[in-house]
């Protein structure tokens, strides 16, 4: 067991995800503290999606460890996922009514006040309205609102559109944030490079 440090929200140690003897993403290690952000570059879209889901505690590493807060994603997945807001690459594609229902569902599952959840989501949607990365439908903005409204400590953005990561970190500067993306060139040489890591 690794020594735990309260100031670290996300700790990934030599994580690998293997299926049928094949690494589906480039292995990586990282630590993120509150207010820090990182962009994790993977050789392909599949690797980026697996890496995002792995850091959000949705899938478990085949080798290595992922700790979110004080919780191991393999041993205490529910407690770990409570701290994470995961934004899928497509955002939330449902209707306005479905969005409302989803907000209610999340309020119940995260065990937070519904009214506070709706207020937080409205605030996030208002802040993101008109942003270049969320054109008609605002599907991505809704995905961000659903992910961040429960008051999470870590935001994980899976293959976000241009400008989305910066907008999300500006919205919640106090939480840790991580985005995955695909290498623009020489993907074969990349091994889970941390391209950006700034306070």
């Amino acid at each position: 067991m690794l020594p735990q440090c309260e100031s670290v929200v996300l700790r990934v140690v030599a994580a690998r995800f293997v299926r049928d003897g094949c690494d589906l993403m480039a292995p990586f290690s990282l630590e993120l503290s509150p207010g820090r952000r990182a962009r994790l570059i993977q050789p392909d879209a599949r690797g980026a999606m697996v890496a995002a889901r792995l850091t959000a505690g949705i899938v478990k590493p085949t080798f290595g460890a992922v700790t979110i807060g004080d919780f191991d994603s393999r041993l205490q997945p529910a407690q770990a996922k409570r701290l994470v807001g995961f934004v899928p690459h497509a955002g939330f594609c449902g209707s306005e009514r479905e969005f409302g229902r989803e907000l209610g569902f999340r309020a119940d599952v995260w065990n937070v006040d519904r009214a506070a959840m709706v207020r937080a989501a409205a605030e996030i949607l208002g802040a993101l309205r008109g942003a270049a990365f969320c054109p008609a439908g605002d599907a991505y903005a809704r995905g961000v609102a659903l992910a961040l409204a429960p008051g999470v400590r870590l935001a994980v953005l899976e293959l976000p559109p241009d400008g989305a990561f910066e907008a999300v970190t500006a919205l919640r500067p106090g939480i840790a944030a991580l985005a995955t993306s695909i290498a623009a060139e020489r993907p074969a040489l990349l091994r889970g490079v941390l391209a950006e890591r700034a306070p």
């Binding site: 959000a56 949705i58 997945p77 529910a78 407690q79 770990a80 996922k81 409570r82 994470v84 995961f86 899928p88 229902r101 989803e102 209610g104 569902f105 999340r106 119940d108 599952v109 995260w110 065990n111």
Partner: protein, 145 residues
């Protein structure tokens, strides 16, 4: 962590408009079958709706994987939804029997009511086991139900 609140949230999420329409249809068919007084028709309708209702549950919904839920909460919620759906057609049949004045005789030891309730419960639970599976395994569970 409030487990009951989360479990009921899953139940509400699964019992959407389409689910309610399906159960209303099951209730109506159960009522018609009960009025026809054909035991075979009653049993077939009840079992069909019990199995099809349970198979409709989407346990692979991506939202469940991102949410801080325990497997037991999901299992309980899905079982509640499947059983609530399975009892819709028998409820219609019981209403028909009540209209015909046959409710007491059907709930007697030699009646159809108790075997029908047991059968739909069993069918729904077995069919629920098909939902996380695909292909032949899924078909086998559905047929077994």
């Amino acid at each position: 962590m409030n487990g009951t609140r989360a479990t009921l949230a899953i139940v509400r999420r699964e019992m959407d408009t389409r689910w309610l329409i399906g159960r209303a249809l099951a209730l109506a068919v159960g009522l018609a079958a009960g009025l026809s007084s054909e035991a075979g028709l009653v049993a077939a309708a009840a079992l069909w709706f019990a199995v099809s209702g349970a198979l409709r549950i989407d346990v692979r919904d991506g939202m469940y994987f991102t949410a801080p839920l325990y497997g037991r909460q999901l299992a309980r919620a899905h079982a509640l939804v499947a059983l609530a759906g399975a009892f819709a057609a028998p409820a219609g049949t019981f209403a028909a029997w009540a209209i015909r004045g046959a409710l007491d005789s059907e709930f007697a030891p030699a009646g159809l009511a108790l075997p029908l309730l047991c059968a739909v419960t069993l069918a729904a639970v077995v069919a629920l086991s098909a939902t996380p599976r695909t292909g032949i395994a899924r078909g086998a569970y559905a047929l077994g139900a």
